[in-house]
Symmetry: C2
Subunit: 270 residues, 2 copies
């Protein structure tokens, strides 16, 4: 079956969106559509032009026999700012305040469409970071970690508090939970992270940074390096945070349980 340009553009866009950060050889498309490589090249330049015009991302082309095209998703600053301002407004909803000054977050983390936008912003921020894997802490970091990892085309390692017999041999470390000053344990299945990986740590929330520090230690237990640290929300904290170099999308500077007010602003991402 032959395909006209218009049909090819639809299918190519679909295919590239499904396979971000993955190099696709031109021959793949020319065989898929029974079309000459020169036509495929023209198709791709239309896709590239439109992806850039609409701030979807870009196509990187590698020349030569092993050459091909790679879709790199990108979110530009103005789009991210609009999105994050909307998120801050939602964060300031006083209904969110729970006893003890905790904040209910599942309305945000339970929404796959918001989570995907968050994932895209992080993936865009770390698109040149040569990330090999995304690490997160169960439970609420998981949806965010997958949204980032899907865009970067890398696997996810899920760290847990408890040991699970269904994970085989595990690596455990003790760490001091920063805000509660309590010693806790976190573990990761030995085979869920390849040694010598460059790991992007993603979590939903950071206060003193104890959990993130723990994950950083766990990364080095796997002879691996930290590519970056991204948190959805950071809360201001009296003491110096235990983590210096992180990217936060939002920042909660004030929770007043008595007056039922929350103050949220865009984090340190820009």
């Amino acid at each position: 079956m032959k395909f006209r340009r218009s049909g090819r553009l639809v299918d190519m866009t679909h295919y590239l969106m499904d396979n971000p950060h993955r190099q696709v050889p031109l021959t793949y498309f020319s065989e898929r559509y029974h079309a000459a490589k020169s036509s495929i090249s023209e198709d791709l330049s239309i896709v590239k032009e439109m992806f850039e015009a609409k701030q979807i991302g870009t196509l990187e082309t590698a020349a030569g026999a092993t050459g091909g095209v790679t879709f790199i998703p990108r979110v530009d600053k103005s789009e991210a700012t609009t999105f994050l301002n909307g998120l801050c407004e939602r964060l300031e909803d006083p209904e969110r305040i729970l006893p003890g000054g905790y904040l209910y977050m599942m309305d945000i983390i339970g929404d796959p469409s918001l989570v995907q936008s968050i994932g895209r912003i992080f993936a865009s921020r770390y698109r040149d970071g040569e990330v090999d894997a995304v690490m997160t802490m169960a439970t609420k970091g998981i949806p965010l970690a997958y949204a980032v990892a899907a865009q970067l085309n890398v696997p996810v390692s899920i760290v847990r508090h408890e040991h699970r017999i269904t994970e085989g041999s595990i690596v455990s470390i003790n760490y001091v939970s920063g805000s509660k000053k309590r010693i806790q344990t976190m573990s990761l299945a030995r085979r869920s992270l390849k040694p010598q990986s460059n790991v992007l740590i993603i979590d939903d929330f950071m206060k003193a940074g104890g959990t993130i520090r723990g994950m950083m230690e766990l990364v080095s237990e796997f002879q691996s390096t930290v590519a970056g640290i991204g948190v959805l929300t950071e809360a201001t904290h009296d003491e110096e945070p235990l983590v210096a170099d992180y990217v936060s999308l939002t920042k909660i500077s004030q929770v007043n349980a008595k007056e039922k007010t929350i103050k949220a602003e865009i984090g340190n991402i820009f």
Copy 2:
């Protein structure tokens, strides 16, 4: 800025893929591209034709003033079969066998691209199910649940074993874990599922079905109904399963820890 058809097709495909199961008014596109509605209609029929030819899904159009177009992702049987056969082959890898006959699954569940394919198959199976929410059990069901929910454009409710002070008031039930015959507790935050929802339950693994039965009870505690039950892998079990009506993608019929063999086949989905 005006856009030619070729550019519109690229951006439209991107937009529709980003917004599955969501009705988009034609005026949205005609304003986005400064194009006549008649041109937009022609664009959409090209997208629809290609989505159907490449088994990506379909576009449903609603006529009239409130009319618009909805992208319904679909995976056809032959594509799903090929994918699931590959998955079964991976499941039969003897390296997966852990002490006690447990199976390591994080290589599969940790791969966002596999997880997205799994999500698409479930979303396709339940595309006409009028699903309002996806429910799952922490931890390993979470990535699958989000992959399904993103395609169906509905929120996710995460059930947990432990209580969390950061979730506000919760609903808890006791249930009997089917294979271990142990009484356990599961809870869901009161505000993480709207009453009168039609809930699709998604989990990674089902043996006797005790956990799923628990989730079904939890659904009725929220005055809601079960739209369906989908599990990635079911294991054969000596007794009658506690759940009658479920869809499994794969089935593990035999694990021989001594001889290091696993037998996996496609589940009951077709």
